[in-house]
Symmetry: C2
Subunit: 237 residues, 2 copies
DNA sequence: CAGTGGTCTAGACCACAAT
DNA sequence: TTGTGGTCTAGACCACTGT
């Protein structure tokens, strides 16, 4: 772990442990950089992480302060990483039922989103994910076979993301997501147990490796009463 | 505008204009920093912006590449700023109907989200926003009077965000948002013209000034067929 | 004025990948 | 070995705030 990550981790700990007063600025950047034996640039970078997480804010000429209401959401912000459901809901029991598992040629739409040719086969997967035994989300996933490979039932019952990072040693760079509300279709009613007038929260996602290649195009359909999408957006400057 | 912002703007222009080949890395950081007469750190910072926007990705030992599929979403990424609907849908005609405009003592819930006391009055506003004459979103907004002040019907028919930044000279630092699907209530049916089984996409938001103070707690209820929430999440490192 | 954060520099060294 | 991006430094100067 890098110096700036270590420092930001320590400052985060102090904030959560309320070691710094909420009504005073935290020590200034020069003082902190002396304490941590680093340059001011490195200190700034460490604090930037916490600003992005919504835990701190800065005022030129004043100092750096703790966002009081940011503490409530501290658990949300930290998981700004690239984890699948299995890793996100750590401590909860996540199980999966495989509804579809095929290798097919992609539709034009899927091929376009994955930036591949329509003669490049993809996995077509539908999984129902349970959290603590309750139906939670219906995931429809398309992944190019030549990029991801090695998917089998064992993987599908566990975490595809762990397979990608630990099995295939690939690393995930990020996502483009679209979130919308929809009416339930037949699959939703059957597997999520929706009533005909229960809305669905759908997350459409294209996921990228750090090679810039799209490796997943998916639709996650959530029961409206069991899922909220949370996001933090703080200007660093 | 700062040097790194100017540079990132120019590189963005070149990417969108396809001046750089999509299959080759763009010039390396040292070359670019010579071209722009800046240090490598500043160049890196300029490129960081585009990486965060999902337009570029980097590979240590390889170079910096254009995300092909990122271009499709280029219009979305740039608006990662703190704008209201009026500024977001620039070029489209946004109008508003004022449904409620009161000053009240906040409920416990609202007071807690705004981190104020329940005897601190807030504006309670409900607006129906039209885009090109069509009902688009129903916004329920709570703002502390002592922070925002000066709201009147003229402001409500225009942009509250412009009032805050230009009128009050305050600057907006960021948001915490929760996005969920809900069933429509009576207001949604009346004003958005929803059918009883039309879902609603609700965005719950706490907005912060750069002083760290929460100034807005709001619920934006969107017709499911006219709104998609888009987000980009790319690891910089 | 002094004290804060914001920007920028010139250069060092490290980590990783291709040759 | 070379070339790429990643981290870190020590210091300069600027912008904003309150005294």
């Amino acid at each position: 772990m890098n110096k700036y990550e270590l420092i930001s981790k320590e400052i985060r700990r102090r904030i959560v442990a309320e070691i710094y007063s909420m009504d005073q600025p935290i020590p200034d950047e020069v003082t902190l950089s002396k304490e941590f034996s680093c340059s001011r640039m490195t200190m700034k970078r460490a604090l930037d992480i916490l600003v992005t997480e919504g835990l701190l804010f800065r005022r030129r000429g004043h100092g750096t302060f703790i966002v009081k209401s940011g503490l409530q959401n501290a658990y949300v912000n930290v998981d700004n990483e690239n984890k699948g459901l299995t890793n996100l809901l750590i401590g909860k029991k996540v199980t999966s039922k495989i509804i579809k598992f095929d290798v097919l040629f992609p539709t034009k739409e899927v091929a376009s989103q994955l930036a591949i040719d329509t003669n490049n086969p993809v996995y077509d997967i539908i999984r129902l994910r349970y959290v603590e035994g309750e139906p939670y989300v219906l995931e429809k996933t398309h992944m190019p076979v030549n990029i991801i490979g090695g998917i089998n039932e064992a993987v599908l019952h566990g975490s595809i993301y762990n397979h990608i990072s630990e099995g295939l040693k690939l690393s995930i760079a990020g996502f483009h997501r679209k979130i919308r509300a929809c009416k339930p279709d037949e699959l939703d009613r059957i597997y999520l147990g929706c009533q005909p007038d229960d809305p669905i929260l759908e997350v459409e996602q294209v996921a990228y490796l750090n090679t810039g290649v799209a490796f997943e195009y998916s639709f996650s359909r959530h029961r409206y009463d069991r899922f909220v999408f949370t996001t933090v957006n703080i200007t660093k400057k």
